[in-house]
């Protein structure tokens, strides 16, 4: 980075931080400014866009660029995001933050940058209309990129740009959370209130169908369902749709994971429709791991949707039988929709708000990131229960065996969003058999979780180690 660019980056981001810290002031200024724009409407009717644009657009670009690092997306929602511009999020989230926020509130993808969305929630708390942050934001309308939101407000015409605060989606919402319908055995089991075990399957890098099936079946015989990961860790792996199809055709009931990182809305809608034709019912919606600069794939991050808008889109397909574009499907697909959560996230308040949004967007079950910290979990879950959210979704907590103290330390430092308390690491260090201690810790966690009202089950993650999953289930007497 050249010196000029560097100073620009530092200068701008500090101004952006200032604007965000003074979100209430910005809100007052903006609410004084909107009437001016509205008052100019009669004028705007007579002045053609040709003349208006060269005056207003550069002014908007300069002011919002300086104050907020505005990208002129034409979909401005600053007033709903605590005056923190979501276009600065490397995952293009319109409903954030993601589950990967680092210690201290830093970005998963760019660790030196404070998370745009943590700042957004903080800014929103100061604002009079701060609750707007809980609005479900639709996917970005890419066609408006580069257009002026101010002119849109002046012309009261959303075809030229989405004016600020038009944060309603075009989708018809229907409340369908934790419904009594059961499309899949997994849903039936959860609806029946049984403590449910799921696990995670990272398919081997091979197109050998028999090999894939036999590996998956080692886990499938132990639990109700396994998740098929979708390009985990921003690496190429076999498509989750094909593996889920192989398993579904063999009579199993897998959870297909769908991430927003690698496909646009056309491909995602096509793939879930295909999944439905192949008999797949359970879909877990994720935003997806970000592609960091040091990742080898060199792939282009897509992020046309985020997990919340993905959930809303799939709910809409199921309930209304329509694509996002409004085109009709001749048969409504039967989906049981899930989302992720990070109960040990750095800020439990934001986490509750974030999951509440996902539930409103259609999440019926939740599977979480690894949880090792019971105190943090309880702090989060009490707030979650206070809102009655445990009654609106099936919450499965992610657990797993730590193999050694060293591995635990590595995870703590390298996997964004994972919290491992010092006691756990000390216990592992002083144990004679670290691997067995890791299993014991996991079993104890499961036993404690089982006692908590509103925890629907556990999601056991043990990369490529089905024998450990088996031991955990036996030791915790879950079978």
């Amino acid at each position: 980075m050249s010196a000029a660019n560097l100073s620009k980056a530092v200068g701008n981001s500090s101004l952006r931080a200032w604007s965000n810290r003074h979100a209430r002031l910005m809100e007052i200024m903006y609410s004084a400014f909107v009437p001016v724009l509205v008052a100019l409407r009669p004028l705007a009717r007579f002045i053609p866009s040709k003349i208006l644009k060269p005056v207003i657009k550069p002014a908007e670009k300069l002011i919002k660029g300086t104050m907020f690092d505005c990208h002129m997306c034409g979909n401005c929602i600053l007033s709903s995001t605590g005056m923190s511009c979501p276009m600065n999020c490397p995952k293009n989230l319109r409903n954030g933050p993601c589950g990967g926020v680092r210690e201290g509130g830093y970005c998963e993808v760019t660790p030196s940058m404070p998370c745009v969305w943590v700042k957004a929630w903080e800014g929103a708390q100061q604002m009079r209309h701060g609750d707007r942050i809980t609005l479900l934001q639709p996917p970005l309308d890419q066609s408006l990129s580069g257009r002026s939101s101010w002119i849109a407000v002046m012309q009261a015409d959303h075809s030229t740009g989405r004016g600020e605060d038009t944060s309603k989606t075009t989708l018809t919402r229907s409340k369908v959370q934790k419904s009594d319908r059961s499309f899949s055995p997994l849903q039936a089991k959860l609806n029946a209130g049984e403590f449910t075990i799921t696990s995670e399957f990272n398919p081997p890098d091979t197109p050998d169908a028999d090999h894939i099936r036999s590996e998956a079946e080692q886990l499938l015989k132990l639990c109700s369902s396994v998740n098929i990961t979708d390009g985990a860790g921003a690496n190429t792996h076999i498509s989750s749709t094909s593996v889920a199809a192989l398993l579904s055709q063999a009579g199993h009931d897998p959870v297909m994971q769908v991430s927003c990182r690698d496909r646009n809305r056309i491909a995602i809608q096509a793939d879930v429709l295909g999944a439905s034709a192949l008999g797949i019912k359970n879909i877990l919606c994720l935003t997806g791991d970000g592609i960091k600069s040091q990742d080898k794939t060199q792939a282009k991050p897509v992020f046309d949707l985020d997990c919340t808008s993905l959930l809303e889109m799939l709910t809409h397909m199921r309930e209304q039988g329509e694509f996002l574009s409004g085109r009709k499907l001749d048969k409504k697909p039967e989906f049981f929709l899930g989302a992720t959560s990070n109960p040990c996230a750095i800020d439990p308040h934001i986490e509750v708000g974030r999951i509440e949004k996902k539930i409103r967007a259609g999440a019926q079950f939740i599977q979480t990131q690894y949880c090792f910290d019971m105190d943090a979990f309880k702090d989060f879950f009490t707030r979650f229960q206070d809102q009655g959210l445990h009654e609106q979704c099936h919450y499965l907590v992610g657990v797993g065996p730590l193999s050694t103290a060293r591995a635990a330390e590595w995870m703590r430092h390298n996997i964004a969003g994972i919290k491992i308390p010092d006691e756990v690491i000390t216990r592992l260090k002083s144990a004679k058999d670290e691997a067995q201690e890791g299993i014991d810790i996991c079993v104890e966690l499961i036993q404690q979780l089982r006692e908590i009202k509103g925890v629907a089950g556990v999601h056991i993650m043990a990369l490529q180690q089905p024998e450990k999953v088996k031991r955990i289930i036996e030791q915790a007497k879950l079978n």
């Binding site: 197109p207 690698d262 096509a270 295909g274 999944a275």
Partner: protein, 318 residues
């Protein structure tokens, strides 16, 4: 049986109906646009007209940027249907990670034929809200697939796939662009990257087909790659004119339009014209078959094939 001077090399490890037919001298493929439905039956009934008549069926990948049942799911449904799929892969909707993971999935499902495309452009007005991905260009993707097939290595990721999937890789071409200065280089690049067959845009002009075959010889590709000429039965003069106006790279000669206009039964005339084109293709040694497309008129495709009797010259035991 027609003899091909130098049959292009296809990997011995691929033993699909399509490769057998191509090696035999004459192959027929057709194209279907999958339905907008999650019901397998809706898709399977589209296959019926083609069973026993063509060697493989192409599955369009959300053509025109409109969501359809994806090719991968259709391929899985096509098992034990007696027709094999040509999976179409476009670069418009998926990045490198999603594309390669779908290819591994395709391998697991048993897909052997692949057509790599750029993907239709999205409508600048109606579909402008959607992100077009274009992380890789078709030629790059062909290269990635060949590397994956040959070595099991996923480019940039330093990891190896055990028993990597083997594909017969195809590319698309526009015969009416063969006079453009860049045409030869572009096609040669695709072949250099690993393309082993070409399916062309719709062509209805006998002279243009002969000319295209000559041009392929000129750029030294004749004998290096299997060529399937895109054509099909036209339903009426009106639809011929519509195609000429609206489909990129499609020419319909005036005489064909006139023939359709003057015919008592334009549909039957369209079948006759298509049969004549098929016979013409079969007589040119450097061409290896036809790729049949007739949106909304699929039922006429088997009729044209039967009328042309070309299947008797090829490997198909009809």
């Amino acid at each position: 049986m027609k003899t091909t001077a130098n049959p292009p090399v296809a990997k011995a490890s691929i033993d699909s109906q399509l490769t057998r037919a191509l090696r035999g001298g004459f192959a027929l493929t057709a194209e279907i646009v999958p339905p907008l439905s999650g019901n397998p039956e809706d898709f399977l009934k589209l296959l019926d007209p083609f069973k026993g008549h063509v060697d493989a069926v192409n599955l369009a990948d959300s053509a025109g940027g409109k969501v359809r049942l994806p090719g991968l799911a259709c391929s899985a449904l096509m098992k034990s249907q007696g027709v094999e799929p040509v999976l179409q892969v476009t670069c418009r909707d998926r990045n490198k990670i999603a594309l390669i993971s779908d290819l591994l999935g395709a391998g697991a499902i048993g897909v052997q034929n692949l057509l790599v495309l750029r993907g239709d452009n999205l409508d600048e007005e109606k579909q402008a809200d959607i992100t077009s991905v274009h992380d890789v260009a078709p030629t790059d993707l062909i290269d990635i697939v060949s590397t994956l097939s040959n070595t099991g290595v996923i480019p940039n990721e330093e990891k190896t796939v055990t028993s990597p999937p083997q594909f017969l890789i195809g590319a698309a071409d526009m015969p009416n662009q063969c006079d453009e200065p860049w045409w030869g280089d572009a096609l040669n690049k695709k072949v250099g990257a690993g393309a082993r067959f070409v399916q062309t845009q719709l062509t209805y002009d006998l002279k243009a087909i002969s000319y295209y075959a000559e041009k392929l010889q000129e750029i030294g590709l004749s004998g290096k790659i299997f060529i399937l000429i895109g054509t099909g039965p036209l339903a009426s003069a009106k639809s011929a004119l519509w195609m000429r106006e609206n489909l990129y790279g499609v020419d319909v000669p005036d005489e064909i339009v006139t023939r359709l206009q003057e015919a008592d039964d334009p549909k039957q005339e369209g079948i006759k014209i298509c049969a004549e084109i098929l016979q013409h293709i079969a007589q040119i040694p450097s061409l290896h078959g036809a790729h049949l497309m007739a949106p909304g008129n699929n039922a006429s495709i088997p009729k044209a094939i039967l009328l042309s009797e070309v299947s008797k010259q090829g490997s198909l035991s009809a």
